[in-house]
């Protein structure tokens, strides 16, 4: 099989990639390992998706359904579900090996977009000590069992980690009749969005224990309890360790990008995201190989992911036609309040603008985000608030871009 653009992963990023690449004239093959499109959205039954794209508050499955409708009857897009990519190599074009119930599939593509998202960090990744009983789940795995299979996972639950998935699962389990004893967070603040803390924990009187962690688990066949201890000056205080009886432990302790598939390529790594560095086209340092969605950086809003997909899809279509304009590469520099930027590189080319995303080191209110090139200010945006961990999107007008680019944050002077 031959195609212009191959998209791997049929979640929100992959669907937007396929749509955008086809819109830009490319033939597309979209490969998905599950039996249907949608990815993780199918199990995210809570609402809050699509405020930007559809101007509505949809649930995850509805958001996926809308995108599915956009690509399903498109003649330029071939969708292959239940298909798993095992290997990617390259000559002039990319050669991709995949398997599905019919056998081995070989695909030759001019460009490839990786949109496989993340996987969850399991118990092994956090050195959880103690026995190995049944009843320990990652939050996303529990979400799949409860929401897709309609089966309950336990009666008395402890959740480790206050990321959004952990908070949302706390509410879900209470709604299904379980008792959630508490959510434990090793950091001194809630990891998830404040709105999720309000409507998932406060609404149901679920306690959140900050600067506290689970030290070990107990139980032989099934989990019978976990030990929790507070952190004093960043160190676990074992003298205050307490046993909390429970039959289930949920882990919401972070995500890791699914990047191993292309480890045979010599790509520039990006330590901030545990993924690969990209340019404004979301292209890695391997020409024609693109990233989109959570495989590139973990997003808090699905709308951002779809936006990634639209950029990567268009870029991959242009690359396939040999029309990707990559003259004069510039590495984006920034002050220390910005932790990292995506992309890492932009070009001084004929494209009018570029999207630059970044996260900050802490919460900022009433600030200016400024961009400077050759000591000249080329952009100054007023921002009301950037909350902790939230991604800020800057649409940079590149007309005055010169040999370099520096981003910084400036506090607005308030006159009272």
């Amino acid at each position: 099989m031959k195609t212009d653009v191959l998209v791997i992963g049929g979640g929100p990023a992959g669907m937007a990639c396929a749509f955008s690449a086809a819109q830009n004239g490319a033939s597309v093959i979209l490969v998905e390992r599950e039996y249907r499109l949608g990815g993780i959205l199918n199990q995210c039954i809570h609402n809050g998706f699509g405020l930007h794209y559809f101007n509505e508050e949809l649930s995850g499955p509805e958001y996926a359904y809308r995108w599915q409708q956009k690509i399903e009857n498109n003649k330029k897009i071939k969708i292959m579900c239940s298909t798993y990519v095992t290997k990617i190599t390259r000559g002039v074009n990319f050669f991709v090996e995949a398997t599905n119930p019919e056998g081995v599939v070989n695909i030759e593509a001019k460009s490839v977009i990786l949109a496989m998202g993340c996987r969850e960090r399991p118990a092994g990744a956090i050195n959880l000590t103690g026995t190995r009983p049944a009843g320990i789940f990652t939050a996303g795995c529990a979400q799949a069992i409860v929401n897709l299979q309609g089966k309950m996972i336990g009666k008395k639950v402890v959740i480790l980690g206050s990321g959004d998935i952990g908070l949302i699962m706390a509410r879900r389990l209470v709604c299904e009749g379980a008792q959630v004893v508490g959510v434990f967070e090793i950091m001194d603040k809630c990891g998830g969005l404040a709105r999720n803390y309000t409507q998932c924990l406060q609404d149901f009187n679920i306690p959140l224990h900050l600067s506290t962690t689970i030290t070990r688990v107990k139980g032989t066949k099934r989990l019978t309890g976990v030990y929790a201890a507070p952190l004093i000056n960043g160190k676990v205080d074992y003298t205050q360790e307490k046993l909390i009886p429970c039959d289930t432990l949920l882990l919401s302790v972070g995500l890791t990008p699914e990047i191993e598939l292309v480890s045979n390529f010599n790509l520039e790594q990006y330590p901030f995201t545990k993924s690969y560095a990209v340019d404004e086209y979301l292209q890695t340092t391997e020409p024609g190989l693109f990233l989109a969605g959570n495989i590139m950086q973990v997003n808090d809003l699905v709308d951002n992911v779809s936006n990634d997909g639209e950029i990567a899809g268009k870029s991959a279509a242009l690359y396939a036609k040999g029309k990707l304009d990559i003259t004069q590469k510039i590495e984006i520099a920034h002050d220390s309040s910005i932790r990292y930027t995506i992309p890492k590189y932009i070009y001084k080319n004929n494209e009018k603008s570029a999207r630059i995303c970044f996260r900050t080191d802490k919460e900022y209110r009433r600030i200016f985000v400024t961009a400077t090139s050759n000591k000249k200010q080329i952009a100054k945006n007023y921002v009301i608030t950037i909350t902790n961990g939230q991604i800020y999107n800057l649409n940079l007008n590149k007309q005055n871009l010169n040999k370099n680019l520096f981003l910084s944050i400036e506090q607005q002077k308030i006159q009272e």
């Binding site: 809570h46 499955p61 509805e62 929401n147 897709l148 299979q149 309609g150 709604c175 309000t198």
Partner: protein, 117 residues
């Protein structure tokens, strides 16, 4: 009273006070925050989502508009008790005016595993 606005990810910290019999909201960055603050102290509402077992799998559902918070568990029970139909499509209404509210319960997703060949 202090609360966090849940209308968007900005998560504004609202201060809601009664001044001369009127409810005054401060700390909000947009008009939706004021609306939320007043609603939250007079008549708090939530969009409710859940899952229902059907033949061969599950459906996910939600209320079409936010319903009174005190009806949370009544609405969840009504969803579980609703009769099971033969087929479901995204957007189908499975309960009209759930628990006497002006909200319907609609299907947001259908999860039936394909049979192995």
């Amino acid at each position: 009273m202090e609360m966090i606005c849940i209308r968007c990810p900005n998560s504004c910290v609202l201060k809601v006070e009664k001044k001369k019999g009127k409810i005054v909201v401060s700390g909000n960055l947009c008009p939706r925050g004021e609306e939320y603050g007043i609603q939250e102290v007079t008549d708090p509402r939530r969009t409710i989502t859940s899952v229902k077992q059907i033949k061969g799998g599950t459906i996910s559902v939600r209320t079409t508009v936010a319903v009174q918070k005190k009806l949370y568990f009544d609405v969840l029970k009504a969803i579980k008790d609703a009769p099971i139909k033969k087929t479901y499509n995204v957007g189908d209404i499975i309960i009209k005016n759930v628990c006497g509210t002006s909200s319907n319960i609609i299907v947001t997703g259908v999860n039936i595993l394909p049979k192995n060949k």
